[in-house]
């Protein structure tokens, strides 16, 4: 069984949001500012024009972290949120009662409500679309102009992502919470 994760060479990111659009088109995500599985965060640049702090304007692409210790899964009363055999955190719309507990519990704000099913949805690592067809990249990775993302099997020593994580320094978001995210930011 694979153990999927994603490495992000986030310094490449130009905040174009191709990933967001590709994700929506691939996965039939509803339009609407709040309905997205993937986003790029930016801060207001610090300083006063023309002396601005470039580093403060970094772009941070993000999405569900597919936590190994996922708070969203722990709090789900009906086990609608579950880990699949590849360590991907998914929501079974059948079982979701829309208590929204997971939305409050996810430290990464990775979940939203799909208005069609009125259940919680999030990044699936394209499990039911691309991976189901046997493809090996996610929509967001594939389309990215500056190739920020590398998706792959963390348990496979020879996978590109494993190689990247062995050879490059990286960090994860909110590591202190012990969620063990599987999104790795390369520095």
């Amino acid at each position: 069984m694979a153990n999927y994760g994603m490495a992000l060479d986030y310094k490449n990111c130009i905040n174009c949001k191709a990933c967001e659009v590709a994700c929506k088109e691939e996965n039939g995500v509803l339009l609407g500012a709040d309905k997205h599985r993937i986003w790029v965060g930016a801060n207001d640049v610090k300083g006063e024009w023309p002396l601005l702090d470039i580093a403060s304007a970094a772009f941070l692409p993000s999405q569900c972290q597919h936590c190994e210790e996922a708070p969203c899964q722990e709090v789900c009363p009906t086990n609608a949120t579950y880990y699949n055999e590849h360590g991907v955190v998914l929501v079974d719309a059948e079982k979701c009662i829309l208590c929204s507990y997971c939305m409050n519990a996810c430290p990464y704000d990775a979940r939203y409500v799909d208005d069609r099913t009125m259940t919680v949805d999030k990044c699936t690592f394209c499990t039911d679309t691309r991976l189901a067809r046997g493809e090996t990249t996610t929509a967001c990775q594939n389309t990215c102009p500056t190739k920020v993302r590398t998706f792959g099997d963390l348990d496979d020593y020879d996978s590109e992502i494993s190689e990247l994580l062995r050879t490059r320094e990286h960090f994860s978001l909110k590591e202190n919470l012990g969620t063990k995210p599987k999104l790795f930011y390369l520095t």
């Binding site: 500012a33 709040d34 997205h36 986003w39 790029v40 965060g41 930016a42 801060n43 207001d44 941070l60 993000s62 708070p71 899964q73 722990e74 709090v75 789900c76 009363p77 009906t78 086990n79 609608a80 059948e94 079982k95 979701c96 009662i97 829309l98 208590c99 929204s100 507990y101 939305m103 409050n104 519990a105 996810c106 430290p107 990464y108 704000d109 979940r111 939203y112 409500v113 208005d115 009125m118 259940t119 909110k174 919470l177 012990g178 969620t179």
Partner: protein, 411 residues
């Protein structure tokens, strides 16, 4: 004639249950009696309010049924809104009444027996109102009933809370029946179990927040314990209000004695609560923990926090301390103030937990950086909430007509 035929056919458990139910004492009244009440201005007002609230409930629910969650002002960043707060408000009331009710019939403090039945009935009514509200907040209540059983999420505080409250309601009903039937022994057994389950459910409700690792302002042991404390306080407030209405402020002596005692307990509890809240705020603000201290400061500056403190803590405490709990009329009004304060307490709990965005970056070109999450309930949410209150009052009114909620004269 027909009855005997049925009786013949029914066997075993069913028959026993039927028989059991048929022995529950209640007042045989008709619709006419139901709508017949003493026409005082206050009662008239209450009647109008109940009808209005119920009408709102219907409109609110209709709006929810047509527009779903879009009729609410909840958002991705603030998924829990007023209905959750109101649900908590009701279930805390229920637990509180259960505690008050247990003083007499579970713990055997004689003074308090005269409120037991009424309090236990109140606890049933309030939790039903809570359920009536939450049913329209949970997106798929029916799915919940199914998968709560089929695939229980045992690590989920919500699962435990929901399941325990379900059990609790059952025990409360049974206890109430035994109280009605004056079977004090059985009432005591079910009362004790119900109380324990209720307390468990209740602290689990606190833990729903306490478990939120992502929300440092709520995370930890504070809420599970604080919930029990505030439940007791709430129970006493409601006891005053129920008794005030029951006796139209003409307090018989035993009631006076009981209420004075309750006021003293209340004084102690509120003092502890103030102590709790002060330390929580102090450690939050000065603890300097990121995502906690600035949230606490923000809370400190919000009027709803002060509404909670003044209405639920300072005013009642002042009244209690002024006359050592003997100003029962004053306490009645202080309890009304207290309940409004308690409402804010619940609202604040829910809102404050979600105040701080989990994602502090801009994700759209033209937007302001996320600062605090704003929320104000939509009219639908307000209507359903008031509707919940309407349901609660109506059930209580009906109950008070059907059952004798006063303590039985002799044992």
């Amino acid at each position: 004639m027909a009855q005997t035929v049925e009786q013949v056919e029914e066997t075993g458990v069913v028959a026993k249950v039927r028989e059991f139910i048929s022995t529950i004492p209640y007042n045989k009244i008709g619709i006419k009696d139901l709508i017949n009440y003493e026409k005082t201005p206050l009662n008239n007002l209450l009647a109008v309010l109940i009808v209005a609230f119920l009408a709102m409930f219907v409109i609110g629910v209709a709006s929810y049924l047509t527009h779903g969650h879009h009729a609410y002002n909840i958002t991705r960043e603030h998924p829990w809104g007023l209905l959750i707060a109101v649900y908590i408000f009701f279930v805390v009331s229920s637990t509180g009444l259960c505690i008050v009710g247990s003083l007499g019939d579970v713990f055997g403090f004689k003074d308090y027996e005269l409120i037991s039945k009424r309090a236990i009935f109140g606890s049933i009514v309030t939790i039903l109102a809570g359920f009536a509200v939450i049913a329209f907040e949970i997106g798929h209540p029916v799915t919940m009933l199914i998968y709560n059983v089929l695939t229980p999420g045992l690590t989920s505080a919500i699962w435990w809370m929901g399941t325990l409250y379900g059990l609790y309601l059952t025990f409360m009903i049974i206890e109430f029946i035994f109280l009605l039937k004056h079977d004090m022994k059985k009432a005591k057994i079910f009362g004790l179990t119900g109380l324990l389950v209720g307390l468990a459910a209740h602290s689990n409700l606190g833990s729903v927040f306490g478990f939120l690792n992502a929300r440092p302002i709520s995370n930890g042991v504070y809420y599970p314990t604080y919930f029990i404390l505030t439940a007791f306080i709430t129970g006493i407030f409601i006891a005053y209000i129920m008794m005030g209405f029951r006796y139209k402020m003409n307090w018989p002596e035993p009631v006076k004695v009981m209420l004075t005692n309750l006021a003293k307990i209340q004084g102690l509890l509120i003092s502890i609560l103030i102590f709790f809240v002060s330390w929580k705020m102090l450690t939050d603000v000065y603890g300097g923990m990121p995502n906690r201290s600035e949230v606490a400061v923000h809370i400190f500056h919000s009027w709803t926090f002060w509404a909670e403190v003044i209405l639920a803590m300072l005013i009642p405490l002042f009244i209690i301390l002024k006359d050592m709990g003997r100003n029962i009329n004053g306490m009645f009004w202080a309890s009304l103030s207290g309940m409004v304060g308690i409402f804010f307490m619940r609202y604040n709990l829910v809102h404050d937990t979600q105040l701080k965005p989990l994602q502090m970056m801009k994700i759209r070109e033209y937007q302001l950086s996320p600062e605090w999450i704003h929320y104000f309930p939509s009219s639908t949410e307000i209507m359903i909430s008031l509707g919940g209150l309407g349901v609660c009052l109506l059930l209580y009114y009906i109950g008070s007509k059907f059952f004798n909620l006063d303590a039985d004269e002799q044992h």
